[in-house]
Amino acid sequence: MNHWAFVIAAYAVVLIGAGGLAVASYLAMRKAEAAADAMKGKK
């Protein structure tokens, strides 16, 4: 059994999972804050 394959797979999963969480959270924040700022201009 190639142990390095398991190690790389685990690290890849965490990179993708944490990275995906970061991207999703950042995009959600940007979109919501942009909408709120746009409202400020309208009155």
Binding site: W4, V7, V14, A32, A36
Partner: protein, 240 residues
Amino acid sequence: MPALHAFANPARFLKIARPLTPVLFWAGAALALFGAYSGLVLTPPDYLQKETVRILYIHVPSAWLGMGAWSGIAISSLMYLVWRHPLSNLAARAIAPAGAVFAALCLITGSIWGRPTWGTWWEWDGRLTSMLLLFFVYIAYIALARADADRGGDGRVPALFGVAGSVLLPIIRYSVVWWNTLHQGQSIGLTSSTIDRSMIWPLFFTLGGFTLFFGGIVLMRMRAMLAAQKVEARMRRMAQ
């Protein structure tokens, strides 16, 4: 509690959260990446598990955050139930998806680690089962909080759920002590550890890094929810 009431004001919170978000996020990412690199390249293999032990450096922080996030939810929920801090309700809802992700990463990395070492992807032992249960509880909480908010509820029911779910935390922690399990016992206590010094140090980087990173994520989610609330309130006023 005057100090806490200060943070209950969204404007005050945002004043701190805005600059703090990138600091936590990038410091966390840097520490975590350095820890991962060290764990992959700079440490020796294990006498028994050989290279697969390197999964420890990412599995342990995932478990730590998966469980720690729920204690954050429980504390925020309790604060909301007792003191009615509007931000504490928000904090719990912001934490939940991130906590669920790390609980899932804990289970997945654990499974990948288990196959070459134990010889199995999954077993229903006390530790694994209770951790899986926690993941399901996260999903239930997210659904419950969403339904409650959509229906215009005040957040009390999800908050009760947030507190009640914390009973899983000591069960997960002590499962390897109370029962015969496949999963090994605790390696790291407050004062001692069963991990050799030459191998333990990257864990401090990944543990610290992931935690700061997690803080950054939670702030992002809270900021998004506060902004959405602002827009919704403005829409409601305009509709009147």
